[in-house]
Symmetry: C2
DNA sequence: TGTATAATAGACAAATTTGTCTATTATTAA
DNA sequence: TTAATAATAGACAAATTTGTCTATTATACA
């Protein structure tokens, strides 16, 4: 069960996988430790508590997620193509077995008002995404900020619904609508 | 702690409240029983297991939710107003303290592939909603089914994001976009 | 080499989880 | 009234939860 990397990395990587696959509340510390092949004391010395581990998971997930989407966007040069590439990113994610939707939305559904730091992490992730989409939109000649939030809502709807239906149609529909909105044939 | 109704109703009503407020996994059977003021054996004789109770919760939630949204829609006569009224329904829900987004999306985030019946309940709810919005749209003179899924995605995005931001702006934006899509001034 | 640090295994605690079972008390219907 | 049914309280089980603590072994550094 030993995995590459030092104990801290092994714990975080295993927790990230299990929190996403099974959910945060449905995943016990013991399973994380067992699958990571790491001692319990290592977890508590590095993270302090399960909640701190959950927060570290969200922080790392944000970094990784934006790295992925920007990599997809930066393949394109034309502003229109760059904007539309965000949906290609979703299209690429979905067919992967074990797709479970957005890590942040999932965490928000599990953690109530008793874990405000979790909620804040989710909010910050979504704010950053909203801002990013806004920037991609206004870089398109002739486009203003007017439709930015619509693009954002379509993107979010596409993530959530592609999970519900386990199908790409929401992503394709959202992309088509955005193309239409910005007057692209 | 006793509540009106027979034990079965009391259990379901209390479970519905707690599952929504705290989440399904975060809510223990014992808390439900305590707050419902009902004996444990009553729960197991009426529902059989926690999962069955969860399924009963989703089924009742679907009925109640559609009763609420159709009541809002049926206040209006003009097809355009009827379509837009679905966003008024969301606007009405959100300011209620304790708004936690969509019960079905939340449950989907908590239950993995190990509970396929839960996932099916969610899927059926969303399929019904998608169909309903489709009908409301094509009832508008000059509208075809072409934009139906876009309306659906905007609606879903509005629910999820109004929870994230704890604000009505996603609902207002979605409504405005739909009005624009159907060429309404 | 010697020493501080890191990591390990695993026992342990205290609480909580779902679910079962028994024995008693209400309620309802014939 | 009698008898079947429904509901109750609560003990109990077996597993699991997060977190702590001890004692031992590796590792890294001076």
């Amino acid at each position: 069960m030993a995995r590459p990397g030092n104990p801290k990395e092994k714990i975080l990587a295993t927790a990230a996988r299990l929190f996403y696959e099974q959910g945060y509340n449905a995943t016990g510390i013991n399973q994380v430790l067992e699958e990571a092949g790491v001692a319990k004391a290592s977890l508590y010395s590095h993270f302090g508590s399960k909640e701190e581990l959950g927060l570290a998971y969200l922080k790392e997930a944000r970094t990784a997620w934006f790295a992925g989407i920007t990599a997809m966007v930066e393949k394109k040069k034309a502003p229109v193509e760059r904007l539309l590439a965000v949906f290609d990113f979703l299209e690429q994610q979905l067919p992967q077995q074990g797709f479970k939707g957005c890590r942040f939305i999932n965490m928000l559904a599990e953690t109530g008002d008793s874990q405000p730091e979790m909620q804040l992490q989710v909010l910050e992730h979504k704010r950053k995404l909203r801002k990013y989409l806004h920037q991609l939109l206004i870089a398109v000649p002739g486009q203003t900020a007017a439709q930015a939030d619509t693009v954002y809502l379509l993107f979010e709807g596409a993530i959530v619904e592609s999970k519900v239906y386990r199908d790409l149609w929401p992503v394709k529909t959202a992309k088509k609508t955005v193309r239409l909105l910005i007057g692209q044939p």
